[in-house]
């Protein structure tokens, strides 16, 4: 599963809280335990001191004098305390009744100071023992025996301390768990609230359709962190909208332009099929359909070339080509149409020019300009083809007479699907895409193209091509 920001946040924070609480709990537990044990031991020692203070040596006999104390705890059967007193030689001077003849473990080793330790009581309960070695005072004038020191040891069960500690542990664990749970819950709520703008953003984006790209994302109460995301998205939407709008307008124009030849095809065939006819009439209709189809094909091919150029799918394969040959090859298929319109052609060849460029792309450029000139020249007019070699670039100039375009109109000739007022009178190859294609290809070749309309009715197109192919020229 994908890592969730929310889960990561909650999990890490909860784990951190739990660790801190655990450490605090353990520390607290240890402090309380040590305090309780200390208190317990002190009570043991106090009692031992009290009892010891009553002891006296009397005529070499140890007089205990315990009668005045509450010795009940050493006598009862239920969870009793234990008391044992040893003499220096190890003989037992006193055993509490609760011992019933058994012994507490003698505190071996150095017995100077008071001692406290954990023991197992004779009845098997866990407990603590405390005691010390001391010399009881002497009654009267009789001296104490040589070894006058006695060891007192008192033991009690630690049941109450243990149960208190157990309760504390349970309480700490419960409080800790509750704290972790509550903090996780609160965190979850806050994180959810904090991330809600993200969900809203996702909803908004999900609600955007390609039908209406004019919508923008507004998150008035969004946190500052989301502001740049929304802004970038809106930028992207704006660019998409503009691109879509361009495409939409262009495809609408294309559909519109395709309709006319399609209507021609349809009505020609419709009318041809209204009744049975002579073979030559059918042939005539078919011939007309063929001409329209060729025109449609040219239009579709131009559109495809433009689409490929737009998408950058055109590869440039530079070769060294002779410009005059290229122009002659491009003119050949047009010679017949030019003759039909009684056009004169004037070649103004400069010195033999060679250029290093993509010959098929440059051929496409030249062919389209020449086609345009042949279609738009006046009947019996003049087409001029001229090449000029300069230091870094080569210029091709193709002009036709009989243009009625103003310079303002001439500025539009490279726009897709634009046509001059009389563009349709000579129905043939022209479909408002040839010169835009020229413009696009020349740009790809790294050159420049311009159109000029002179007062004398000449329409001139100038193409400048760099002598080195574009990718070699660019760094």
């Amino acid at each position: 599963m994908r890592r969730s920001l929310r889960t990561t946040l909650i999990l890490s924070t909860t784990l951190g809280t739990a660790a801190v609480l655990l450490a605090a709990g353990v520390l607290l537990y240890m402090l309380v335990r040590d305090g309780l044990v200390d208190q317990f031991d002190r009570a043991l020692l106090d009692k031992a001191c009290l009892l010891a203070s009553a002891m006296e040596w009397e005529r070499r006999e140890l007089d205990l004098n315990f009668d005045e104390f509450d010795m009940h705890e050493f006598e009862r059967r239920d969870r009793p305390a234990y008391l044992q007193i040893w003499l220096t030689d190890g003989t037992v001077a006193f055993r509490s009744p609760s011992l019933a003849g058994a012994d507490l473990q003698h505190p071996a080793g150095s017995l100077e100071g008071p001692f406290c330790r954990r023991v197992v009581l004779p009845d098997g309960r866990p407990g603590r023992a405390a005691g010390f070695t001391m010399t009881p005072k002497t009654e009267g004038s009789s001296p104490p025996p040589d070894a006058a020191a006695v060891t007192v040891m008192l033991a009690r069960g630690t049941g109450s301390v243990d149960s208190t500690l157990a309760q504390l542990a349970v309480l700490l664990v419960a409080v800790g768990l509750a704290a972790v749970a509550v903090s996780a819950g609160v965190l979850w709520l806050f994180v959810r609230r904090g991330l809600r703008p993200l969900d809203r953003l996702a909803d908004r984006i999900g609600g955007l359709g390609e039908q209406d790209l004019s919508q923008r994302i507004h998150l008035p109460d969004a946190p500052a962190e989301l502001e740049p995301v929304a802004a970038r998205l809106n930028d992207l939407l704006g660019r998409l909208e503009a691109a879509f709008e361009r495409e939409r307008r262009f495809s609408a124009d294309v559909a519109h332009e395709l309709r006319t030849p399609l209507a021609g095809l349809r009505s020609t065939m419709d009318v041809a099929l209204t009744k049975s006819r002579r073979a030559d009439e059918y042939a005539h209709a078919l011939d007309r359909c063929l001409r329209i189809t060729v025109q449609l094909q040219a239009m579709v091919e131009h559109l495809l070339s433009l689409a490929r150029l737009d998408a950058g799918q055109v590869e440039i394969r530079p070769e060294t080509v002779c410009l005059a040959d290229l122009l002659r090859d491009a003119w050949k298929p047009l010679a017949e149409a030019a003759e039909a319109r009684r056009l004169r052609v004037r070649w103004v060849p400069g010195p033999e020019v060679t250029v290093t460029t993509d010959p098929s792309l440059l051929g496409l450029v030249v062919r389209n300009i020449l086609e345009n000139a042949v279609v738009h020249a006046n009947e019996g007019g003049l087409v001029t083809i001229e090449t000029v070699a300069e230091k870094n670039e080569t210029t091709i100039r193709i002009a036709n007479s009989g243009s009625c375009l103003t310079q303002k109109q001439a500025d539009h000739v490279f726009e897709r699907l634009w046509r001059g007022d009389d563009a349709r009178t000579d129905v043939g190859i022209h479909c408002g895409l040839g010169l835009p294609l020229v413009n696009q290809v020349v740009t790809v070749l790294g050159g420049a193209v311009a159109a000029r309309s002179t007062a004398g009715g000449d329409f001139l197109i100038t193409v400048s091509i760099p002598n080195a192919p574009p990718h070699a020229a660019s760094p």
Partner: protein, 224 residues
Amino acid sequence: MKILVIEDYEPIRTSVAQGFREAGFAVDATGDGEEGLWYARGGDYDVIILDLMLPKVDGLTILGRLREHENPASVLILTAKDTVQDRVKGLDLGADDYLVKPFAFEELLARVRALVRRKYEARSPVISVADLEIDTSARTVRRAGRAVELTAREYAILEFLALRVGQVVTRTEIWDHIYDFDAEPGSNVIDVTVGHLRKRLQRGKRPPLIHTRRGVGYVLGEPE
């Protein structure tokens, strides 16, 4: 009936003109707005089929000028512009119908026939005069229940007379509505055709229905 086709795309112009001629219409056609306007002002057309994107003078301008001069022709706009605004604009300027390219020729023909009927205030495509029945959509004629075979021109004259049943129709009107610019003008072309038409409509002893008004023209009506 006579129509004018103003359409700059040659294949559409040619085929539409041919189709209408074959359907018995007199057709003039041009591909140029200026020339179209000149034709429209000079000829007595029943219907003008008008493209909008035309060289020199565009279709809407032509339409505006025709309506300004109260030209009686019905105008059908035939164009590739298909938005609602374009249609509304054309119809508001006085066009009678609007058809978007590409179109079915049959539909164009039917729409033009409907415009013709509307112009002569004939609701039904079938016109009856006594025992004569003319179906203008099927272009068939029956007299006393039996079919009558007619040539295209004979039919055209009969239909024109039938659309103006009971009214005197002059030879000039017939010339203007039935013959196009290519027809050879002759002094008695119409008289000869009407003579043929009368003969074909003859059924035994039944009385003639086309009457001559000397020095004026013809009238189709109940037997006199």
